[in-house]
């Protein structure tokens, strides 16, 4: 117990003794992790947006005019039995015409000259959430396109693929930036610990001579590194939250993107805790790097 108290007191004393270095380390770590956080926040929001945009994507299965009533019923049966299909709505030629007139009242005269109703009957299909990736949609559309009575399967392929590409790109950039800036955070904290080790080298030598184990000497520095990482990451979350709220306020004030602010989200609590955990681990790693070569051998 006394040993634990000693270790924690030493870590605290280290940080107090090197106040400027400690503050600089926390601030630079916070800034570094904030940069990573911006990409993560962007990623979380774009992925969320992609999710609900994909939820909204409908696939239109247009039917051939010459398809008989039996053909349509047969196709409907097949689609309803398909485990990838979560919702299905039949739109007859007449309903299609009514919807067209309702949606484009000023253009409805365009259809007048064509005599018979030129709009095809169709099924509006919503796929189950687990089958909404661009590849899955593409494969499904190709399969259904070959079924009897189907004239064409239409969906916004480019839109889905562009969205998937955007999510993947942000994910890759976030990973890349995350790795580089995490290495920077480890180096910053590692240097702080190295300075602390240098400042206290005589004390460390005394501890060695009176029989302190390597672990006893090192633990305060591990605690210090972890604390710096935790403080840095907590501060970075504060910076991100402040920036996020400011951004949300700005977009609602401009009015141009009115309404979008309610769809922009900050990290959930679990992710905030995970980020503080990551910061702590980075700080620990920084200490580890500095202490690795320290105290090797017998002295």
């Amino acid at each position: 117990m006394r040993r634990l108290y000693y270790v924690l007191r030493e870590a605290w004393a280290n940080m107090r003794a090197n106040r400027t270095t400690t503050v600089v380390a926390v601030l630079t770590t916070a800034f570094t992790l904030s940069c990573v956080g911006i990409f993560l926040l962007l990623y979380v929001n774009v992925r969320g947006a992609a999710g609900w945009l994909q939820d909204d994507i409908k696939i239109l299965v247009y039917l051939e005019d010459r398809a008989s009533r039996e053909d349509v019923q047969d196709l409907e049966g097949k689609l309803r039995a398909d485990r990838m299909v979560s919702a299905l709505r039949y739109i007859s030629k007449e309903e299609a015409l009514t919807e067209f007139r309702a949606q484009f009242p000023s253009d409805s005269h365009l259809l007048e000259g064509l005599g018979d109703n030129p709009l095809p009957a169709s099924f509006v299909v919503t796929l189950a959430p687990s089958f909404r990736s661009s590849d899955a949609v593409k494969r499904w559309a190709e399969r259904v396109g070959g079924m009897g009575g189907v004239a064409k399967v239409d969906y916004n392929q480019e839109w889905i693929e562009a969205l998937a590409w955007l999510v993947r790109s942000i994910e890759l950039v976030a990973i890349g930036v995350g790795i580089i800036l995490s290495a920077a955070a480890v180096t910053i904290i590692g240097n702080t610990i190295r300075l602390a080790l240098f400042a206290r080298r005589e004390e460390i030598e005394i501890l060695r001579l009176i029989g302190a184990t390597r672990a006893f000497i090192r633990i305060p520095y591990f605690v210090e590194g972890a604390a710096l990482g935790a403080c840095g990451s907590a501060l970075s979350l504060g910076i991100l939250k402040a920036g996020f709220e400011l951004f949300r306020q700005q977009i609602s004030l401009t009015g141009r993107f009115s309404g979008i602010e309610q769809f922009v989200v900050f990290f959930p609590l679990s992710m905030c805790l995970a980020l503080v955990g990551v910061g702590t681990a980075l700080g620990f790693a920084g200490s580890f790097v500095s202490l690795r070569r320290f105290g090797e051998g017998r002295t």
């Binding site: 006394r2 005394i206 009176i210 184990t213 390597r214």
Partner: protein, 225 residues
Amino acid sequence: MDAMIQLIHVSKYYNRRPALSDVSLEIEKGEFVLLMGPSGAGKTTLLRTLIGAEQPDEGQIFVQGRNVTKLKPSEVPYLRRKVGSVFQDFRLLPKKSVFDNVALPLIVQGASSQDIRRKVTEALRAVGIEHKNDHLPHNLSAGEQQRVCIARAIVNGPIVLLADEPTGNLDPERTTEIIDLFKLINARGTTVLVATHDPHVMAQVNRRVVVLERGALAPEQRVGV
């Protein structure tokens, strides 16, 4: 009698120059030995090999029957807990009180708070400085700082006490006090090895003297008892 410290043909080189040259020495349990020699004779190197701070290039070293040269790095701290060390420059932690400095070896070993309080008080009383337990080292005289250093070395009841030029920074009066303290500690059963180049210390100690010259042992002489 049992050998507490044994050096068998020990040599140590720095840049091919011998710091210790074929040193063989045996110190028995409860002995008080003076290690004499001029600066650079190898006294500090010899003491450092005894606590595993230096590895000899040749030879074997035993402390209480344990081969120090064969210890793993993780075992060295446990050897040092049995061997108290006193330094010429005291090596006290400047920002810690006298009490905390003396308590350090016990904290390192994981002693309980009650044990720490009792043993530190005893050690400070033994060196006659218990009334200054809350002082910082820089508020003490050189002689008092050396007493604190000795208290720290004996607080966990070591089997051996090593002192490297313990009176180097002290006036003759304080030197006598510190030597008397070592005699007292030795009288309680601790084996004491004091390295010094000060002939006044030799005159006061009146015990076995081992002389090192350029890393080699000179023929032994025994003064007094």
